[in-house]
Symmetry: C2
Subunit: 318 residues, 2 copies
């Protein structure tokens, strides 16, 4: 049993707390991708829900533990904010989301539409994290920190339980790596219940801080990020999350922007899915290392579909 901050029994219990609308998401073999990529590919689809990403699993868990009517603040690259707004709306929570003003408009618009207060900062996601922490201190309200708050990891971990139930014989699971909530959550469950399944984290070469940290087994930060995969673009990994990732990840790979775009294109043409760049990281990893995956059965978690369509069409057409 892997020893991390996460707890398998709590993850099992989370299934009974999270709104079913976020659970038991589709998981299916995609033949058309198989012939394009040279390996069996199963898609775990996390976009067919009211916030179009997996983040609702974690925010449901967070929100279920807060008193009705309480206040909560989070920093978000865009998806956590939507999910927290959704979970908070149903429970009468007062939700503030801090985001970079450079986040995709689609994400920012939907945070507002879901009734959250949105505060924008001029900097990037890590600047938003600082600002959210300031607000929490100033106002004395609960700060939800993605990946650091174990509920965000354990919520995502319910994906792992579903994978063990539905594709127990797969060879590898490809997980987009940003702050690490999904990677540590899914990874913890896989290592506990299906230890032979390879847990592979995938990050853009333009936002490599957590991958470099994992490889060097020490915290590595970067000064900036340069990637279209806005959902995973962090510069400063969280030490406790790195510690967990060192326990559960078998590998962490970096992929090029061109591969992310090629992955998005393949998911559209071969699977009919419009996804955000972060959700194409897994396919990008296969594209960059076909030999590694040849003939194997690989699951890729399609973790989000919030994308500005103008940018999307530009990338796809490129």
């Amino acid at each position: 049993m892997p020893v991390t901050r996460l707890d398998l029994a709590r993850i099992e219990a989370a299934r009974r707390v999270i709104d079913p609308i976020f659970l038991d998401t589709p998981c299916y073999r995609c033949d058309a991708l198989e012939s394009a990529l040279g390996c069996a590919v199963s898609i775990k689809l996390e976009t067919a829900n009211p916030v179009r990403s997996f983040k609702g699993r974690g925010t449901e868990l967070v929100a279920s533990q807060l008193p009705d009517g309480s206040s909560v603040v989070c920093a978000s690259a865009g998806n956590l904010g939507q999910a927290l707004a959704w979970s908070g709306r149903g429970r009468g929570l007062d939700v503030t989301v801090v985001a970079s003003r450079f986040a995709p408009a689609a994400k920012l618009d939907r945070i507002r539409a879901l009734g959250a207060r949105l505060e924008l900062v001029d900097g990037d996601f890590d600047a938003a994290r600082e600002r959210a922490a300031d607000i929490a201190r100033r106002d004395g309200v609960r700060l939800v920190e993605d990946s650091l708050d174990v509920e965000t990891c354990e919520g995502a971990g319910t994906i792992g339980l579903e994978l063990v139930d539905t594709v127990p014989s797969c060879d590898a699971v490809l997980i987009a790596l940003g702050g690490g909530a999904m990677a540590t959550g899914v990874g913890h469950v896989l290592k506990a219940k299906a230890p032979n399944v390879e847990v592979i984290c995938v990050q853009p070469v333009g936002a490599p801080a957590m991958t470099l940290s994992w490889r060097e087994r020490r915290l590595v930060t970067t000064d900036s990020t340069d990637t279209i995969a806005d959902g995973v673009a962090g510069r400063r990994p969280i030490p406790a999350v790195l510690d967990d990732l060192l326990v559960v990840a078998d590998d962490a790979v970096l992929v090029r922007e061109s591969s992310i775009i090629a992955g998005m294109r393949l998911l559209l043409t071969h699977a009919g899915l419009v996804v955000e760049p972060s959700a194409a990281l897994g396919v990008a990893a296969i594209i960059e290392d076909r030999d590694r995956f040849a003939g194997r059965h690989v699951v890729t978690i399609v973790c989000g579909g919030n994308v500005d369509l103008d940018a999307y069409h530009r990338w796809i057409a490129g």
Copy 2:
């Protein structure tokens, strides 16, 4: 309890026979569509499976009743053929699909890729039906007739069971109407278990035969069809299916091509979904009669996502 050829107990039993990959599909409120359409819209998403349409529910049921290794033939507008090929492949069935050579290339390619024998006819779907019947007679093999074979209706009826479980308080369900398998299947279950939910069938004005038949309570055929919604473009309704539809449908409406395209566009921009024209019929019906649905909670079944992307982009850009 509605009296049709369908049987609620058999539909309940079908849930235990159909591969779970086709069952318990996502059903979720889409806030963004709500503001665009003036009513609460829940999406029942039938595209996140290996054949990207609801047809697997019916073909699983059909295939489960055939001896392993037996032969089967069907006519298909494209989606039934994929689904029968998928269900047959897992059971070692010898599957022949007859389709119009004017069916979308994406559908024809995937029928072949799934290992079925594909025979093309120069005419339309109803010509393919004749040819499939000829083959069945000539070769003495099982003919699967969509909507006439009660398994195709009862398989689709499992969608109705899921709707009753997940959105019991909705006001209306919008169902794409072609041959009538989905409409009679879902309609039968709703009338049996949630009789206050309005069952509304939607067909293109360019392929109105079944709707006209329902309205006149007698068989009406047309000489041709003219619609981009290839999945529902039939000219000759099946009498037994019409009889059932008269029992379970509360209304049948016709929508314009421009509304179908507007519906596809809304599903892309507000729900992030690439759908085939037939799957946008429900949204098209709301667009054409906003007053009717204002303030109500409407479920639309997004029944298929097999579309030629070139045509799709042309329609959306139009």
